[in-house]
């Protein structure tokens, strides 16, 4: 078959489809470039910090080379040549003012390295290396930690340019000369926090579905006037600042707060046995459900609005009970809205930081609080980005699972 100018139909069709695609691509190109430059690239660079350990090789190049022949699993200190290479590197670092940076980096692995480097620098910077005097004993005299096998083992173990150390730390393990080992038990908290974050986010999503569905139903099925009024009642808290809402929950849930005072006044509880509904998981769940509810209600509402009411009436006229009509006719049509709302609420809940910090107490905090600590206070950006990468991986995995079970095409926003 041929078109007017003689080319075969298939070819002509393919060419015009390609043109359409290119036109569509050109239309979204500005947005795509914007997202790539301002979103994907910075986050990608941040994520590479989770394996980047080039700082040790850059600041102590000769030492790293000299340590290659040394056995870090044994009991013997490195030889004189290693010590000399180290002091040469150290003096270079002191001149560049990098010596405390490398001390801080190694301090994440073993406490004490930070002050070891800082204090030793004051003496070592004055040494003259041109006389070939033995350095090993001299350095150990400056600080006896240089005579510890552990100090050199740490430097060697963490001298690789690309390290798995941060990822191991993120799952409560550590990189040692003897391979990957578990952290001491009294420091293991991250896996627990991951599990707690996922569990509580699932609970919050479930609560949002239970509480949000009736509201969305009402909004979709009442007369326009009433439903508009109800919609304003849903949107107004949505537009109020997050911090204001969280603080309001503090006032409500406190020991001497509104709810407790009310229950004592009614007589349901005694003065001495006030309810502990804040500074624990319960407080976090309540506050976060309240804050994330609009994200569930609005997608559900917009999907329910498109369901024609005639189906329900038809089902009833064919003899179904109220429940059967709802469950077998109406509900399956509203599942895409539930899907959209759940994804939104779950992903938001996993990354939440402020609300668990304020009302969570100690057993209601999330993994994001730890990520924030490592970004702001300890400056261990390697660990923070490893934690972030794991969180991202978990979310992508759950998305894939959701796709397999419910099907991503079954998500509608209206």
């Amino acid at each position: 078959m041929e078109v007017a100018d003689g080319t075969p139909l298939k070819k002509s069709l393919a060419r015009s489809l390609r043109k359409e695609k290119l036109r569509a691509l050109a239309l979204i190109a500005p947005l795509l470039i914007f997202v790539l430059v301002t979103f994907v690239l910075p986050i990608g660079t941040m994520l590479t910090r989770s394996i980047d350990n080039s700082i040790v090789e850059e600041i102590l190049p000769r030492t790293v080379l000299a340590l290659e022949d040394w056995n870090e699993k044994g009991d013997e200190l490195p030889n004189e040549m290693v010590f000399r290479s180290f002091v040469e590197d150290f003096q270079d670092a002191i001149a560049d003012k990098n010596h405390t940076k490398i001390g801080s980096r190694l301090n994440y692995e073993v406490s004490g390295m930070s002050s070891l480097f800082r204090k030793s620098a004051r003496k070592v910077k004055k040494w003259d290396l041109t006389d070939n005097a033995p350095i090993k004993q001299k350095l150990i005299e400056v600080n006896k930690a240089w005579g510890d096998v552990e100090t050199w083992a740490v430097i060697k173990t963490h001298s690789v340019a690309l390290t798995n150390g941060y990822f191991l730390n993120a799952v409560d393990m550590q990189r040692t000369p003897f391979g990957a080992q578990a952290q001491p038990e009294n420091k293991q908290v991250l896996v627990k926090l991951f599990i707690r974050t996922l569990k509580m986010s699932l609970i919050i999503t479930g609560m949002c579905i239970l509480l949000g569905y009736p509201v969305a139903w009402l909004l979709a099925n009442l007369s326009n006037r009433t439903s508009n009024l109800l919609l304003i009642l849903v949107l107004l808290p949505f537009w109020t600042s997050l911090l204001v809402r969280t603080s309001a929950w503090k006032v409500m849930l406190q020991n001497q707060g509104v709810i407790n005072d009310l229950l004592v006044w009614i007589g349901l509880i005694t003065e001495g046995s006030r309810l502990e509904i804040i500074n624990n998981q319960f407080g976090t769940i309540v506050a976060m459900t309240h804050i994330l509810l609009p994200f569930m209600i609005l997608p559900m509402y917009s999907v329910m609005k498109t369901i024609p009411p005639s189906y329900l009436r038809a089902a009833k006229s064919l003899g179904a009970t109220n429940w059967t009509a709802f469950w077998r006719v109406y509900f399956p049509q509203s599942v895409p809205g539930i899907g959209a709302g759940s994804i939104l609420v779950f992903i938001l809940a996993i990354g939440y930081y402020i609300t668990p910090e304020i009302v969570g107490g100690t057993d209601g905090i999330f993994i994001s609080n730890r990520i924030a600590y490592h970004i702001s206070s300890s400056l261990n950006w390697g660990l923070a980005s490893a934690l972030g990468a794991i969180l991202l991986g978990v979310v992508l995995l759950l998305y894939w699972v959701y796709d397999k079970i419910v099907g991503i095409d079954n998500v509608k926003l209206g």
């Binding site: 940076k101 301090n107 800082r118 406190q254 400056l379």
Partner: protein
């Protein structure tokens, strides 16, 4: 005028509004009453004297992370930053702060003493210019603690005589020292014990005895609010916040100064500034840290000036008219039993002990 001219003019105007003129300085601090005291005592007199416009930014809580990010992007937008001494040490270690020669770049005392002598031991880092001494200490509700007012910090660990909730900071610093002190460790042995893992376990075990009665705070404003609400009967926070809740808001709270932990807050100048900005920043620092200026700040907030020569010049509160000297953490009546934050120790052990502390909290 036609459309394109109009667009060009408005774009130009918007852009120019966004660019700070070269006579501006960005000074970063903590916000709230503290920033206000700096505004009155330093920024306003300096602007009057030199005509430089000072832009205030309240990001000191995130200063370390932001300075690192700015440095990597080669775009340092801050001129002077107010940080606590531990953060200043961290910034100095990372090469993010300028090293200062205190004797030549800071003003001497009126009687001629050099700046480094006037500040004395408070210059804990080569990049740090001390400004105030503040302390983390306890406040208690006078009407909720029973008949005997607490006088020792161990009252916090005494659930028999002082039943009720306490509030402690959600980090190991200060809490571990107080726990060891009240577990019988001598004051000068505390950090030696805390270096060992048995010592750390011992401190956590002591904190475990009151864990169920503790509300953990992360912002300085939490404890005053909890005390005012009656949620806790005693709690730790910064002494200036307690001054505010006692004297300005007249709540039934009193100070428990025993075992208060002194900490220093001061200035650093970021590294990587252009020569002109650096000169201007140093000029501001010279003015803002001289003897009279530090004494002036004490009129607005109850934090002690870092210079020895400023102490006799401390006067009355600017609004309330009360004498500020008895409310200073450095006043002899309050400073009978004090700790100074051990910067070297926590610079080394903070990450490690914090991991154990958070694991213990999460149990």
């Amino acid at each position: 005028m036609n459309l394109s001219k109009f667009l060009v003019t408005t774009t130009a105007l918007t852009l120019s509004a966004g660019i700070a003129s070269s006579q501006d300085m960005t000074i970063v601090s903590w916000g709230g009453a503290y920033s206000k005291s700096q505004l009155k005592a330093y920024h306003e007199p300096y602007s009057e004297k030199t005509g430089v416009n000072i832009i205030n930014d309240d990001s000191s809580a995130e200063a370390v992370a932001k300075l690192r990010a700015m440095n990597e992007a080669n775009n340092v937008t801050w001129d002077v930053v107010d940080v606590v001494a531990a953060d200043a040490m961290r910034l100095c270690d990372e090469g993010l702060a300028l090293e200062i020669d205190h004797d030549t770049q800071l003003a001497p005392a009126p009687d001629g003493t050099s700046a480094s002598e006037d500040f004395g031991e408070l210059i804990v880092s080569d990049c740090f210019i001390p400004q105030i001494v503040y302390s983390t200490t306890f406040g208690y509700r006078t009407d909720l603690v029973g008949d005997t007012a607490p006088t020792s910090v161990c009252a916090v660990f005494d659930l028999e005589n002082y039943p009720g909730k306490r509030s402690l900071e959600k980090r190991p610093i200060n809490n571990m020292e107080w726990a060891l002190l009240c577990d019988g460790v001598a004051k000068d042995e505390v950090y030696n014990v805390l270096e060992t893992s048995e010592g750390q376990d011992r401190a956590l075990a002591k904190l475990d005895t009151i864990k169920d009665s503790v509300v953990w705070w992360s912002a300085g404003a939490d404890t005053p609010q909890l005390l005012a609400d009656g949620e806790v009967i005693m709690g730790s926070t910064y002494n200036g916040r307690l001054f505010s809740v006692i004297e300005e808001q007249k709540q039934p709270v009193a100070m428990l100064w025993d075992a208060q932990v002194f900490d220093l807050d001061g200035w650093i100048i970021p590294a990587g500034l252009s020569a002109e900005r650096q000169k201007r920043a140093l000029d501001y620092i010279y003015f803002a840290t001289d003897t009279q200026r530090l004494a002036d700040q004490a009129k607005y907030i109850s934090y002690g000036p870092a210079r020895a020569s400023s102490a006799p010049l401390v006067g009355k509160h600017a609004d309330l008219g009360i004498d500020m000297a008895p409310h200073m953490p450095t006043d002899p009546n309050n400073a009978k039993n004090t700790f100074l934050y051990n910067y070297e120790f926590w610079a080394d052990y903070r990450d490690d002990i914090d991991a154990k502390f958070q694991a213990w909290l999460a149990q």
